[in-house]
């Protein structure tokens, strides 16, 4: 029998999956200069669409595809209204946050709390048998494995390929990207679509795996905001973002475990994610880190800069128009 610690960590890894996928998706979107603020709503909409589709078709993969498309469309709508109609990304994103959540509730009203198809657990042969690690990492459903691959792929593409150069450049300095032959608008659409699709996958991973089923109120309400905060906490770097998502899930689990052995009022455990969110944002936004960095010796500065750099992409939320 696996150790209790391994099982607990395994649960954390599984439960963090939607958060990892969503925050990586948002990282990609924001790195290309676009804020998809709608996460909290689009996660719900994607979860609902995924579940209803899977339920109606009896096929979880179809559900996943439908969720993916829902997330993708919401993201594209934000970018379209920004690029083609020159509207504020945050304003449109906010409206879509509310609208997508309400749509999910309304369209999903007849599908709440019924069992439907799910992604089954697929232990990975051989790897599953590694003591401890096997339980933590290799006894999950396909979406969890997908999040591992996604993390590696995002990092690799972003930092090692030509596409990654263009992606980052468009988010930092679109004019420079344009000068080097990158089609800024197309690049933004492409990566916003990818990011949105990932948010859709994240939503689907709730209703098709992690919290199987669709319910109202949606079980992941609030996680969209958490994912947005994790992107900031992670300094827009995929590895740190993913680390943030795991850390967050772990701390949340820890808090509720601790609650059970103390007199701490139960309802207040729910405050933990939000307090954590504020604290992490304070850490990266209050200038504390920068101050630390400036005062430390040069060799340490370099290290700190790499690990703690938290500047948002310069062109985030702005429009690019060729002169």
């Amino acid at each position: 029998m696996d150790s209790e610690l391994a099982r607990v960590l395994g649960s954390v890894v599984a439960n963090a999956t939607p958060l990892v996928i969503a925050s990586l998706g948002e990282t990609i979107t924001e790195r290309v200069g676009v804020i998809n603020l709608s996460l909290d709503g689009s996660l719900q909409l994607a979860a609902m669409v995924a579940f209803v589709t899977a339920y109606a078709s009896g096929n979880a993969m179809l559900g996943l595809a439908a969720g993916l498309i829902a997330g993708l469309l919401v993201a594209l709508l934000i970018l379209f209204s920004n690029i083609a109609l020159r509207q504020d990304q945050v304003a449109v994103g906010f409206v879509l946050t509310l609208l997508a959540a309400d749509l999910a509730q309304f369209l999903g009203q007849n599908y709440t709390r019924i069992p439907g198809p799910t992604f089954p657990t697929i232990p990975i042969p051989l790897l599953r048998d590694i003591p401890f690690l096997g339980t933590v990492f290799f006894n999950h459903n396909a979406l969890v494995y997908f999040s591992f691959i996604l993390l590696a792929a995002t990092w690799f593409v972003m930092y090692r390929t030509r596409w990654g150069l263009a992606l980052r450049a468009v988010g930092e300095r679109p004019a420079a990207a344009f000068a080097r032959g990158t089609n800024v608008t197309r690049t933004r659409y492409l990566y916003t679509a990818i990011g949105g699709a990932l948010v859709g996958v994240a939503g689907a991973s709730y209703s098709l795996a992690i919290k199987a089923g669709w319910a109202n109120p949606a079980v992941m309400r609030g996680d969209g905001w958490i994912a947005l905060a994790i992107v900031i906490f992670g300094g827009w770097h995929p590895l740190r973002v993913a680390f943030g998502a795991y850390l967050f899930t772990g701390l949340r689990a820890l808090a509720s475990t601790i609650q059970q052995t103390t007199e701490f009022p139960l309802v207040l455990v729910n405050a933990v994610p939000w307090v954590l969110m504020i604290l992490t944002l304070l850490l990266v936004s209050s200038g504390l880190v920068e101050r630390l960095m400036l005062l430390s010796p040069p060799w340490a500065q370099r290290l700190l800069r790499n690990f703690l750099r938290s500047a948002p992409p310069v062109a985030l939320g702005t429009q690019f128009t060729r002169e």
């Binding site: 980052r168 450049a169 080097r180 032959g181 500047a311």
Partner: protein, 494 residues
């Protein structure tokens, strides 16, 4: 590779930025492109390098007609431009910036790129650390990176738009040497846009002069400065007169200031500015001048040291307290820092009018606005939204918002982007206040401006501040060396 433009026209709204321009540039030669602000130089260069599409006209390369409408297209035919603020990506490293845009596969060969980069840098005498994020480089270094990058792309025509503002004398001489080599040895065509007649005289083989969008003349070196000035402005400008300073009490005193930014750490900075005095702050971008100006007006909090205004310790106090103490500040950006897009002219004056009560007196605001508009010769009406004014007029509004006689006036790049006429007018306003007893401190990337108007000059280099002993007699060239890191003493010895 020779380039020819024929009958180029380009208009922006009512502005005819390029009006029937025809020129030919031969290979192996360096051309200076001259003209006052707004003459159309950049427009022509941007058309050549694919950023703009000409309304009409033709571009021929080696006699062959070419068409392109993107920078990428220009590069493909062999034309590359180095913009004044190089178009690179700050957070990316030097090497990444070098690779980005090169025709490589999805997975660049980073090792090969590193070798090629080192090779080119070596050849031009540029020293660049490939793994440094570009945002930590100086303008000069970023220009070097862009040149290397463009050469690696195989450009045969290299355009440089005002590359010599904001770089040190050393960087300038390295740059000039490499440009000469590229033209002489490699046969590149080099187009060099500048306001600096000395630079053009030193570097170029031929010049072309634009005025108000039209080509007004070309000349083959050697020509005299006087001839060039006459071509540019239609008449020779009188050199600005200098006045005698009679400094009064100390207004600003900075003691042991300790500040830090991403790029520079400044320790033990001592500055003192007296009433009626103009102190210029010279230095490459990010050498610490901006830290000082911001600390002196309460926009940045020093890590150590003290800032005294009129003898009162104001360290760490908010900006408003500085305003109350008689400090006025003009920041570098206009619409970003100082003017509020979305508000009208009159609303700006209401906001800064101490005579306004809790309830706004709009009539009074309109009157003040009309008064100032007349006095400062602003092209606009009280109800014009500020963003509809031209750059020069915005600058005038900023001056009009400064009270008539502040104790201390701190200005960043007061005439950046202005033509000679407007710049002189702005300085008239500043000097008028100075004569009334205002202490003035300003930064500028324009060494001419520093030399012309400063009573004292402080040179910033990597956070170190040294005062030029005799600001009255320092030359632009000497100052260029100082901002590049040479010591005052060393320079005297040369």
């Amino acid at each position: 590779m020779s380039v020819e433009v024929r009958h180029i026209h380009k208009t922006f709204g009512a502005v005819h930025a390029n009006d029937d321009i025809s020129l030919t540039f031969a290979d192996g030669r360096i051309y200076g492109i001259l003209g006052e602000n707004g003459a159309g130089k950049s427009t022509l260069m941007k058309i050549l390098s694919g950023f703009y599409l000409a309304d009409s006209g033709q571009i021929l390369i080696d006699g062959r007609l070419v068409h392109y409408d993107t920078p990428r297209g220009a590069i493909e035919v062999g034309i590359g431009m180095l913009a004044q603020d190089p178009l690179d990506v700050g957070p990316l490293t030097v090497l990444e910036n070098f690779v980005y845009g090169q025709p490589v596969g999805p997975l660049p060969d980073w090792q090969a790129a590193r070798r090629r980069f080192a090779e080119l840098a070596e050849r031009l005498g540029f020293r660049l650390e490939p793994d440094m994020p570009v945002e930590r480089l100086s303008i000069g270094q970023r220009q070097e990176l862009e040149i290397i990058r463009l050469l690696a792309l195989g450009v045969r025509v290299l355009i440089l738009d005002e590359p010599t503002t904001g770089i040190s004398a050393e960087q300038k001489s390295v740059l000039f040497a490499s440009l000469q080599r590229l033209a002489r040895e490699d046969g590149l065509t080099i187009l060099f846009v500048s306001h600096k007649l000395e630079d053009v005289l030193e570097l170029c083989d031929e010049v072309a002069v634009l005025r108000l969008g039209r080509l007004v003349g070309t000349a083959v070196m050697p020509v005299t400065t006087g001839e060039l000035v006459a071509m540019m402005f239609g008449q020779a400008l009188a050199p600005p007169s200098r006045r005698a300073a009679t400094p009064g009490d100390t207004v600003l005193e900075v003691q042991d200031l300790f500040m830090a930014s991403e790029r520079v750490v400044m320790r033990d900075c001592q500055v003192c500015v007296r009433a009626g005095e103009v102190v210029g702050l010279a230095g490459l971008d990010g050498s610490g001048q901006q830290l000082l100006t911001r600390a002196c007006v309460g926009l940045a909090r020093p890590l150590g040291g003290r800032v005294l205004i009129n003898g009162v310790d104001m360290t760490g106090r908010p900006y408003r307290d500085f305003l109350a103490a008689g400090v006025s500040f003009g920041a570098a950006g206009r619409l970003e820092e100082g003017l509020v897009a979305g508000l009208t002219l009159a609303e700006h004056f209401i906001l800064t009018d101490a005579g306004q009560g809790w309830w706004i007196d709009r009539e009074r605001g309109r009157q003040i606005a009309e008064e100032r508009i007349a006095h400062y010769r602003i092209m606009g009406r009280p109800d014009s939204p500020i963003e509809t004014l031209s750059g020069g007029n915005q600058q005038r509004v900023l001056m009009a918002l400064i009270p008539p006689a502040p104790r201390l006036l701190v200005l960043e790049h007061p005439t950046r982007g202005l033509d000679v006429e407007s710049a002189r007018w702005i300085w008239e306003q500043i000097l008028a206040r100075c004569a009334a007893g205002t202490a003035v401190m300003f930064t500028s990337a324009d060494l001419d401006e520093l030399v012309t108007y400063s009573d004292r000059i402080l040179v910033f280099y990597a956070g170190q501040v040294t005062e030029v002993p005799d600001a009255r007699s320092v030359t632009v060239d000497e100052l260029g060396h100082l901002i590049g890191g040479q010591r005052v003493g060393e320079e005297a010895g040369r």
